[in-house]
């Protein structure tokens, strides 16, 4: 017979005012197996915890139910207390009398009845609890950072500087990400490349960092401390070891008119190319969709031009498997494209551009060498209209959130334009100016007050072309909605920041959650902002939600700190609430029949197989085996298993059954 102790907490008035705690404690004494039951004002307080410990020692309790607040609140507290009294911590359960009872019901008999039932449920459960030992797993002290933008670079450098190995993965041919495309950065207007490229170079040269560009994560299995990542290294068609980055091949390539992605379609590149002059690594890539060698089976000019014979048309993609202990997701963002806006012509007008295109126009290394020119005719615009919140905070566009960076970069864009063309006119349509950040509001004020950018509060309802001008029709809501019409030469849309392409697929591959928009979900919005719900996978930068550079860098450092903290230990301790395939004496060995229907139901690939052989080594039985390191304890396999050979520690069949039977 069990010896269960029940401890009913009043939580001050929180429980006590609607539940008759004394009565609940008295009724619990009548429950079979309960040998001790008492109530107290604050069970979580020191004296409260001492009561529990004392009862365990004096009464020889073999199970404890604390009827108090939500177990999500104080379960660790009471489990610790119980273990300090020498009882296995997993022999303690909590009945949620506060959040699920006293706070949601009035003071009536039925509330006290319900409280009693809730305790009874846990009493029956705890009788069937088993002492559990934490699971220890080793840690592979190498991190995988996915994404080679500023977030990934920073995270990789911070981890590498702590003397841990890092694999930095980038899907494009070069590190740099969106930051490499930017002209100047707010609020200091320092040149983006000037501050980023040294970091890129440092990352590439760092002895602890293995750089893998033009590569993507294909498959991930494993668990915190013990991931196995399969990486697809795409063929550049260049022998990276031989290539010196001299660039002769680039000049000889006859296919020149390919829209240049780095320049956001505003420039051209060749079929063999380096995305931008400061690319890291500085090794070209052959774009086989456009290369004549692959399209027409002729042309080998690059081969002839190459002084080191580094061109490898036959080169194939490689799949590389690496063991890593932690993963930082820094996959960045994309922006909504201007063709998403019917009211602005669905992208039909070439002079309606998005923010990243403007960055390229303003960049000294851009297609116009930093001179702002209209894409349509190359003329320098005399009037530019900037539209903030293009798509953001717009439920109809599926983007209910604020993209956060647009207010600042729009001010920056207007300011840059005014610096380049002091006589030009710059208008900004905005909904609200959100410039919360160090020196941010000052920056916007400067644009307005010093540089004469005209801010109009209101939305633009329509843009159309007339006589070579873009007619921007809007309203000034500060002037009572007075219609405003501006004849502009160019319009810049500060389009919404969105999760990167393929992010949801990646999330699924690595088993992390996404929010409703597809941004990676953090484990807790406030208290665990750089962790995901999958242990060992951390977040940095705009893949989680829109962020500016300082925030991104700070978060990357935070994620790196988490990785380094994880790697500071040799072994990892995990909660033992995992599933297990039962064992029986021979000749049965287990109730598992080896149908492996559970295998695909497991979200973590934690189910493998085990063979049982007889004394002569002959195969007797093949059955499922759950890797306790991989298992996260969801219990989907338990519900799938027909023979009930699988059970889940902490939520076992016997425990749940007993709970139901107590009702």
């Amino acid at each position: 017979m069990s010896r269960i102790g029940v401890f009913v907490c009043h939580c001050g008035e929180n429980i006590g005012s609607t539940v008759d705690c004394q009565e609940v404690a008295a009724r619990c004494k009548q429950m079979p197996g309960v040998v001790h039951s008492e109530d107290y004002k604050y069970m979580c307080s020191d004296p409260g915890q001492s009561m529990i410990k004392q009862a365990i020692e004096e009464q020889g309790l073999d199970g404890v139910v604390v009827a108090a607040c939500s177990p999500r609140m104080h379960e660790p507290t009471f489990r610790r207390a119980v273990s300090e009294a020498g009882l296995n911590p997993y022999l303690c359960e909590m009945a949620n009398l506060r959040e699920h009872c006293s706070w949601v019901h009035e003071e009536t008999d039925s509330t006290t009845d319900k409280a009693t039932d809730l305790v009874h449920l846990q009493v029956e459960k705890v009788k069937r609890n088993k002492p559990l030992q934490p699971i220890q797993v080793p840690i592979t002290k190498t991190a995988l950072v996915i994404g080679g933008g500023v977030a990934g670079i920073q995270a990789a450098l911070d981890i590498a500087d702590s003397d841990r190995k890092v694999i930095l993965l980038e899907r494009s041919p070069s590190l740099g990400g969106h930051m490499a495309q930017l002209s100047e950065t707010f609020p200091t207007l320092d040149c983006s490349q000037c501050i980023l490229t040294p970091k890129m170079v440092e990352a590439a040269r760092h002895p602890n960092i293995t750089l893998m560009t033009y590569s993507e994560l294909e498959h991930l299995e494993g668990f915190i401390g013990n991931f196995k990542a399969t990486i697809r290294k795409r063929a550049r068609k260049i022998d990276e070891k031989l290539c010196t980055g001299c660039g002769l091949c680039l000049q000889k390539c006859p296919t020149r008119k390919i829209s240049d992605g780095f320049n956001e379609g505003l420039g051209m590149r060749r079929a063999i190319y380096v995305p931008f002059p400061q690319a890291v690594p500085n090794t070209p890539v052959i774009d086989i969709q456009n290369c004549s060698h692959f399209r027409k089976k002729k042309c080998d000019r690059c081969v002839k031009a190459c002084p080191t014979d580094a061109i490898r048309f036959e080169q194939q993609d490689e799949w590389i498997t690496v063991d890593v202990g932690a993963i930082v997701l820094a996959t960045g963002f994309k922006i909504m494209r201007s063709d998403q806006f019917p009211e602005y012509g669905y992208g039909a007008y070439p002079d309606i551009i998005d923010g990243l295109q403007f960055e390229r126009l303003a960049s000294a290394s851009g297609p116009t060498q930093g001179v702002i020119k209209r894409p349509s005719d190359g003329k320098e615009p005399e009037t530019i209209v900037f539209l903030a919140c293009a798509g953001s905070r717009d439920a109809a566009k599926g983007v209910k959130y604020c993209s956060k960076i647009c207010c600042m970069y729009t001010a920056k864009h207007a300011m840059l334009y005014k610096h380049k063309a002091p006589h030009g006119k710059a208008y900004v349509f905005y909904m609200d100016i959100r410039a919360a950040g160090k020196n941010y509001d000052e920056f916007v004020r400067r644009a307005i007050e010093e540089d004469g950018v005209k801010y109009i509060r209101g939305r633009v309802s329509r843009i159309y072309e007339e006589d070579g001008k873009l007619i921007v029709k809007g309203a000034d809501t500060l002037l009572g909605g007075r219609p405003v019409e501006i004849k502009a030469d160019m319009v810049v849309l500060a389009t919404a920041v969105q999760p990167n392409d393929g992010q949801i697929d990646l999330a699924r591959k690595i088993h992390v959650g996404c929010d409703e928009y597809g941004f990676f979900a953090e484990a807790h919005p406030k208290l665990r902002p750089v962790e995901t719900n999958t242990a060992g996978i951390y977040l940095a930068g705009a893949c989680q939600s829109p962020r500016d550079i300082p925030e991104t860098v700070a978060q990357a450092g935070g994620a790196a700190a988490k990785v380094v903290a994880l790697f500071s230990r040799d072994r990892l301790t995990r909660e033992p609430l995992v599933a297990e395939v039962n064992r029986r004496p021979s000749p049965i060995y287990s109730d598992c029949v080896g149908c492996f229907l559970c295998e695909t139901a497991c979200p973590y690939q934690a189910i493998g197989q085990e063979t049982v052989t007889d004394r002569d080594g002959k195969l007797y039985k093949t059955m499922a085996k759950i890797n306790p390191g991989l298992c996260q304890g969801c219990g989907t396999c338990v519900a799938t298993c027909r023979t009930k050979a699988i059970d889940l520690h902490g939520y076992s069949n016997e425990q749940i059954y007993a709970e139901i039977m107590s009702l």
Binding site: C595, L597, K644, E654
Partner: protein
């Protein structure tokens, strides 16, 4: 029938298989399972339209496995069971030689699961027209009438487990019904125990039932229990597309999902 006997004789004589699982003449015209282990006794085998039982259940029984490699006289139900058993790793791909017998008595040797799959692709079996009619009739009744119908039927159940024992997919050594810690399903054949038993059985066969109807035929008290498992299987097929016993590779609908699975009842 002669073709079958000749084939069996040949296979046994050449030692290609050690046992042929087939049908023989039983009491009063009944066709019952038999296990032919010598070429001489191949004469026992019969094949006619009365050979409707699903013999595949014997493939996983230790008593039969002991003989060595089996050939099995196969109607469509046997073939589908065979594929599902391979998918569920209860049989190796080429562990069984299936002897598919057509209406005209022509015997086709199907040595691998792949061959069975190809053969079934041409002539898939499925729910019989009579069963489909019964099922549709039930579906048209009101919810209360269906409840009454099933309660009246299940009342007769004596829990002899003939349904379970006859089912080729009920190969589990330790059935849920035998779990007593905890006792998920009431053992006695009282009203609750019977309802629980048959619900669990149907759920456990959802996505796995090859719709052979063997359980219904086996029931000594004539409960059309196969309608339950067949319905669960139909439900899976209708909602998710998978069909048990059509592929040798496991494709268990309830061990998979699509993020956009459509339902209309979750609030």
């Amino acid at each position: 029938m002669e073709a079958l006997r000749t084939k069996a004789k040949e296979l046994l004589a050449q030692g290609e298989v050690q046992v042929v699982i087939g049908y023989e003449a039983g009491t009063a015209g009944v066709r019952r399972p038999c296990f032919v282990r010598t070429a001489e006794s191949a004469i026992r085998l019969v094949w006619d339209t009365n050979c409707i039982g699903n013999l595949a259940g014997y493939l996983t029984r230790p008593e039969i496995k002991r003989f060595g490699k089996p050939a099995i006289v196969a109607n469509n139900a046997v073939l589908r069971s065979l594929l599902q058993l391979v998918a569920e790793r209860q049989l190796q791909q080429d562990a069984v030689l299936a002897l598919a017998v057509a209406q005209d008595g022509v015997v086709t040797e199907l040595p691998t699961a792949q061959a069975v799959e190809d053969y079934l692709a041409i002539s898939p079996g499925g729910l019989s027209a009579a069963d489909r009619e019964k099922m549709e009739h039930l579906a048209q009744l009101s919810r209360e009438e269906r409840w009454t119908f099933w309660q009246r039927e299940l009342e007769r159940c004596i829990k002899c487990y003939a349904c379970r024992s006859s089912c080729p997919m009920c190969y589990c050594g330790h059935c849920t019904m035998d779990c007593n810690r905890p006792q998920w399903v009431s053992v006695p054949s009282h009203a609750l125990g019977n309802l629980e038993y048959h619900t669990v059985r149907a759920m456990h066969l959802a996505g796995r039932c090859v719709q052979c109807g063997e359980c219904g035929r086996a029931c000594p008290v004539g409960i059309p229990i196969h309608l339950l498992t067949c319905y669960a299987e139909e439900s899976v097929h209708r909602q998710f597309g998978q069909q048990a016993g059509t592929r040798a590779k496991l494709d268990y609908a309830l061990g998979a999902f699509r993020p956009d699975d459509k339902e209309s009842f979750i609030r």
